[in-house]
């Protein structure tokens, strides 16, 4: 396997240290979970990693289009973790507190549901890296009409359809007019995908100006070159239609009349919110504020947390950093705990506050 085709999650060592007799469970096999798994497996930990989806990689595999991140590179990295570093992958397994809540995108993929309590008892420590999978709502009328998607609802099935679940198909937008709301990287990804799926027209509505767009002017130029229309300073007011979507009504500054954009499909790409299992029990608010003795440790002593589930949607790099730091913190804690010297630990830094600007990359 050539090194240029593999994402080396266990980059800290050329090979794993001999088993150290400790086991760690990681919930979520996205960027932060895989980075934490790679770090700990390199140090000789036995790592069990759980994910509700049929493939590892999280949004690198199921959210961001394959044109941007080569799927083979991620899967080669996963295979390396499995074969060379002995990480045990438990896919299609959702970790829950109580009754399973089927309310996030991708839940229908999981076959097995296990409790967090079980994991905590079976392992020396647990890291939760479940990300932010719930889309933020616009809170305007008509949002529940058929044909209105969130960016994840739109992007997820495109990637998931290829991963062997018969019921999942890419959004049927062929020949339709599609409107995308938002101008971040997800919005750009949705617009590009809609064009590739054969939409008749794609309009991107953004409430601020072109210059303010988080995806950047260059990306907007690319989208326009590909055939999309960028409508700046268009604030969505309501979705129109009976039963299914017929159009989007927008307000434009200095204009009395509202603008009507005919559309049979729409995607809102205005960010996601974290979906931590049992946020309250774990005291995540305190972890966010850095109000804990151990970096990334939750209210339950041997449960750590990392990635977007803690910070809100950020970027792959930030999630990876968080995963690595949580793994290091966890390893330090277990090392000192084994010698009953926890009191000696010096917390080096606080967990960064969530940034107001969000993007999926």
């Amino acid at each position: 396997m050539s090194s240029s085709d593999t994402m080396h999650f266990a980059f800290v060592r050329p090979d794993p240290l001999p088993p150290n007799g400790r086991s760690v469970a990681i919930v979520g096999a996205g960027p932060s979970g895989l980075a934490a798994a790679g770090y700990l497996a390199s140090l000789g930990y036995e790592v069990d990693i759980y994910d509700k989806l049929p493939k590892a990689g999280g949004l690198m595999t199921f959210g961001i289009p394959s044109q941007r991140i080569p799927p083979a590179r991620i899967q080669a990295g996963v295979l390396e973790l499995e074969r060379k570093y002995g990480v045990n992958f438990h896919l299609q397994t959702k970790i829950c507190c109580s009754a399973p809540l089927h309310e996030e995108e991708g839940d229908h993929f999981s076959c097995d549901i296990r409790g967090l309590g079980e994991l905590v008892e079976d392992h020396d420590a647990v890291i939760i890296c479940t990300g932010s999978w719930k889309s933020r709502a616009l809170n305007i009328p008509g949002e529940h009409l058929s044909g209105v998607y969130t960016s994840l609802q739109f992007l997820f099935p495109i990637r998931a359809a290829g991963y062997g679940k018969p019921g999942v198909t890419a959004p049927a937008v062929q020949g339709l007019d599609v409107v995308v709301i938002g101008a971040g990287h997800s919005a750009a990804d949705v617009a590009h995908s809609a064009l590739r799926l054969g939409a008749r027209s794609v309009s991107i509505c953004y409430r601020k100006t072109r210059r303010d767009a988080p995806c950047g002017l260059f990306e907007i130029d690319q989208l326009e070159a590909a055939g999309a229309r960028f409508l700046e300073q268009h604030t969505p007011v309501r979705f129109d239609g009976e039963g299914s979507l017929a159009g989007l009504v927008c307000r434009v500054p200095h204009q009395e009349e509202l603008v009507y954009i005919p559309a049979q499909a729409a995607a809102t790409a205005i960010g996601e919110i974290p979906t931590p299992p049992f946020a309250k029990e774990l005291g995540l608010e305190n972890v966010r504020k850095g109000d804990v003795k151990w970096l990334n440790m939750t209210a339950i002593e041997n449960v750590f947390v990392a990635g977007d589930v803690l910070t809100g949607p950020s970027k792959i790099g930030k999630a990876i950093e968080s995963g690595l730091k949580a793994a290091r913190s966890l390893a330090n804690w277990l090392d000192l705990k084994a010698q009953s010297r926890q009191a000696e630990f010096q917390d080096e830094e606080r967990v960064p506050r969530p940034s107001p600007r969000t993007s999926p990359h």
């Binding site: 994402m7 941007r68 991140i69 950047g216 260059f218 970027k315 950093e321």
Partner: protein, 169 residues
Amino acid sequence: MSESPAGKVLYVDYSTCIGCETCETVCGFLHDAPRIHMTRTRDGVLVPLYCRHCEKAHCIRACHRGALARDRDGAVVLQPMLCRGCETRECTQSCPYAAMVLTNKGVAVRKCDMCSERRAIGLGPACAAMCPTGAIRFLDRCELACAETEAAKDAEKRVLAHLRPSANK
């Protein structure tokens, strides 16, 4: 030192980079402070600025103390013992790629050494190992020409136009 260096080089294909910051954060995790830095061009493209370990490195010539030298793999590395205490920091001005970073304590600047300690035990730079898209590569200098696709050259031009607006007009 007149013969052209063979050895290794770090290369970022700006056309396939998605600006995810993995390189910067992984570098920072290993080296305490990152030596590869994300920048956002005026066109809103996020890309990392990085040391090219140039064949004819301006920084090596600019440093009067000889604190910048080429190691056995062709990497331009900083010798902290010689750099320490420098006030002119001319190396940072001389770098066309904004890859030398000022620090506010101890050694005056920091720069990429292509993960010198990792190379010593047979590993490559961590940024290249962890890049999700494969945009960062650790190459033999002779492979560089093949790696530079037309799209990559165009993207590079846009980044350099951002770094040096006057040079391109």
